[in-house]
């Protein structure tokens, strides 16, 4: 049995290391691929500055025919990870595009060999490696140089990153993808006026990495990465807590058999103006009364609007914040589900949140370019909440009467699979009531199935 230790080099980004199960394998050859503007060069630079330590082994950054070093450096200075004092002393930039254009791609090998002799770099980045294909006289020449280069790089203790504007088609056809130990792909998609960035690991030899698309964002600190939320391993066997959690509305507690089960998830569905936000706020405020910390995630009302709503229910935002009420407001225009989930998860863990409201998941759905991915994300999130004993309430805005097969019937049915309870708020279309509420589902509970009339007063919802 082998006792060979699997050594990794950190990317300098905790979330990326989590995705890669520790980092890239030491002394490996890796490809960082993606279309222009996807963040691959920023990622590579951020990683190498993380490793640029005074007195440590140097780092070599070779630019071919993509961008001149001066241009790369002038933009890099805007990022907080960049350290000007390391350039030339620890991080060595060399521009070899002109020489490659003049003497052919064979000129790359002497450059690399000379660098190994003179500075013995622990990391070598070649950006863009794909550009070498444009300079090669034939695919055979490219293959030969690649064979020589990988032979040389594999014999020396160094970790190599080949950066390039590769597409999925290139990944199927070009020889460097066969020899690579790791392949990291950066992607960008446009949703309305907003860009969404993602990354995914396509290959990582000898490692159980986190598969799938992970959200990312370019900030002044470099690349922020949001690993995909995965379902906890014990999800199937979770048991909601027996303890009942009051909704903060006596009439609703009665309808659902004495309150929500602790750790359960409830979808509150209804059209605009039906009272979903009021009900959710009452649930969160009841948490504060019970000395349970509540997190209210809101995409519609900004903090001032929400403060007004809270005041109208007889509470003061500042006072309840001091008592454990947390408000996470994100503009629906800036909403990226990956980053929200990471923030939300961090807050829940850090502050021992016991009640969570997401108002609304319809905004999540609108912000997501991929409904299946959103569904998986929410499912995983709710499984985590159940395990942590966080009682969760999700609002969902419907259009039309879903009981008679309106257009939201399918969505509600889908959310039903992942929720324990569904409360449906009407908008006065029930024959005899102005406003009505009914419980469509309450897992594990004998609940009242009838529609009940309710009113919204200055103290909130009151079931009649």
């Amino acid at each position: 049995m082998s006792n060979h230790e699997y050594k990794c080099i950190s990317t300098g980004n905790l979330q990326m290391d989590e995705i890669l199960n520790g980092g890239f394998p030491a002394n490996s050859i890796n490809i960082i691929m993606g279309q222009p503007g996807t963040g691959k060069t920023i990622f590579a630079e951020q990683m190498l500055f993380h490793h640029a330590t005074d007195g440590g082994r140097p780092i070599l950054y070779l630019t071919t025919l993509s961008e001149p070093v001066a241009k790369v450096l002038s933009y890099l200075q805007r990022f907080s990870f960049f350290d000007e004092s390391k350039v030339g002393s620890v991080v060595h930039y060399r521009e070899i595009g002109t020489d490659l254009a003049k003497n052919g791609i064979g000129a790359l090998l002497p450059y690399v060999k000379e660098a190994i002799h003179s500075i013995a770099p622990k990391i070598i980045v070649i950006d863009s490696f794909k550009a070498l294909h444009d300079l090669a006289e034939s695919p055979q020449e490219m293959r030969r140089i690649l064979y020589e280069l990988t032979g040389l790089l594999s014999s020396f203790e160094t970790t190599v990153f080949l950066v390039g504007e590769y597409t999925d088609e290139h990944a199927q056809a070009l020889p460097e993808f066969a020899i690579a130990d790791g392949i990291l792909q950066f992607l960008r998609s446009t949703l309305s006026t907003r860009d969404e960035r993602f990354l995914r690991v396509l290959k990582l030899r000898g490692s159980s990495y986190l598969e799938g698309l992970h959200g990312c964002k370019i900030t002044s600190a470099g690349l922020e990465i949001y690993p995909r939320l995965v379902t906890p391993k014990v999800a199937e066997s979770y048991v909601t807590e027996i303890e009942r959690v009051s909704s903060g509305i006596e009439g609703i507690d009665k309808i659902i058999g004495g309150g929500f089960l602790g750790g359960s998830t409830t979808v509150v569905a209804g059209p605009t103006g039906s009272g979903k936000t009021t009900l959710s706020l009452q649930f969160a405020l009841e948490g504060i009364r019970q000395k349970e910390r509540s997190l209210y995630v809101n995409f519609q009302e900004n903090p001032s609007q929400l403060a007004r709503l809270i005041r109208s229910l007889g509470a003061d935002l500042e006072e309840i914040e001091a008592a454990g009420f947390e408000l996470l407001y994100v503009s629906p225009v800036e909403l990226q589900i990956d980053s929200i989930i990471v923030k939300l998860f961090g807050l829940i863990q850090k502050n021992n949140i016991k009640r969570l409201v997401i108002d609304s998941i319809s905004d999540f759905a609108r912000a997501s370019s991929d409904p299946d991915r959103l569904h998986d994300y929410l499912y995983s999130l709710l499984q985590h909440m159940a395990l942590k004993g966080v009682t969760t309430l999700l609002t969902y805005e419907t259009v039309g009467n879903i009981l008679s097969g309106g257009r939201d019937a399918a969505s509600i049915s889908r959310f039903s699979n992942m929720s324990d309870n569904i409360l449906l708020l009407g908008d006065g279309r029930a024959p005899d009531f102005d406003r009505d509420i009914r419980c469509l589902k309450a897992r594990g509970t004998q609940h009242d199935r009838k529609a009940h009339q309710f009113e919204i007063t200055d103290k909130g919802i009151r079931v009649l």
Partner: protein, 131 residues
Amino acid sequence: MPDNLQKSPLVVMVADADPHIRELAGYFLTEAGYTVTFETDGYEALDSARKAPPMAILADLLLNRLDGLALCRLLKGDPATEHIAIIVFSVLAAEERARKAGADAFMLKPLEKKRLLMALEEATRKRDMIT
């Protein structure tokens, strides 16, 4: 010890089929002041070591025809060559096997100058303590 089998204080033999390894190890060792000879095959390495024993041998475990461990056993089992410091060098985490075969030091591939020189120092120090 016959004259032709005297220790060669600054000669290091690099026995590896990989041309890049030979070139890089040769460069690092020459730069550090050693004279370097090269072999690509286990039997040729054995033959050369018997004819002109170097101070040390850096032997790849997966040498052709006669592997690095067998080469090590043969040289360490012969009084005429047992004084040669041997470093077994491999991509395999085979330190235990290398030590059992009599290697004075073991080094994992790939090459790095500082580790190479440290392994050489460890191996020659051991050899000096014995001889």
